[in-house]
Amino acid sequence: MTTTAERQMELTLPMVADIEIAAARAAGNLARELGMSSEKIDEMTHAIIEACINAREHSGCADNRIYLRFVGTSQGDGSRIDVWVTDHGRGFDPAEARSRRPAPGVSHKRGRGLQLIEAHMDEVSISTSSGGGTTIHMVKYEKKES
């Protein structure tokens, strides 16, 4: 029988300078409790940082808040962390954002946040609508060595 342990955390953070570090540290602590490797944790925290920066810089939300939810699940064959980063802002068009993206490895000063999120996480999905805010759902897996 496989044992499953789950840990959850919810945070509401003000959109102030460097608040993304608080979000990243909280997620990192949860991941460490699950036994995730430091390299996986570093990738996840960098993705969370970019998601929070995108919310702060581009959402245009009135409440100036970022809503985060972390769910860590540990099973016999490894662990996973689901992360939701939500803002109540103007929303955006992910397809249009991706179309403006320069190719990987090509030097470009801005507009890399979503690309970095997708590169550092195993799964990324975006729910967004005009005026209805945005939620980025990201998943990081760690498989145990067999």
């Binding site: 102030v16 300078a17 460097d18 608040i19 993304e20 570090i21 608080a22 990243a24 390299e39 570093d42 990738e43 925290t45 960098h46 940082i49 970019e50 920066i53 320069p102 990987p104 490895g105 090509v106 030097s107 470009h108 000063k109 801005r110 890399r112 946040g113 690309q115 970095l116 590169a119 550092h120």
Partner: protein, 116 residues
């Protein structure tokens, strides 16, 4: 909350090494830029950034690093990095920074290759 970046400079005969400690965000990136531009104005054309005590970067900070690299290239100089964490190395490659600046595993190799 603030995550202030500290930058230390070690002048060499043929260039300089910048040691960063902390988060390279917009403020941290600007701090590096100030120190790098001071060195460029003083004639330094070979700059090594040792990021051994930096564990987190963001895309805004990296965009400032790219500006520094572009200015150095315009002046005929070169910038290199060393002692990156695996995730920072991966991020630099995605951002295209690795195309314009050499990345070394350690400072010893970097100094030797750069002639510092």
């Amino acid at each position: 909350m603030t995550e202030e970046l500290k930058v230390a400079v070690d002048r060499k005969d043929n260039g300089a090494v910048l040691y960063t400690k902390g988060y390279i965000n917009n403020v941290g990136g600007e701090e590096i830029a100030v120190r790098a531009y001071e060195l460029m104005d003083a004639g330094v054309r070979t700059l090594l950034l040792n990021l051994r005590d930096t564990k987190i970067v963001n895309s805004i900070g990296i965009s400032i690093l790219i500006e520094i690299i572009e200015k150095m290239i315009d002046k005929g100089g070169k910038i290199a990095f060393c002692c990156l964490t695996p995730v920072i190395h991966k991020t630099f490659q995605i951002m295209g920074l690795a195309n314009y600046a050499t990345i070394f595993d350690n400072e010893e190799n970097a100094m030797k290759e750069l002639g510092l």
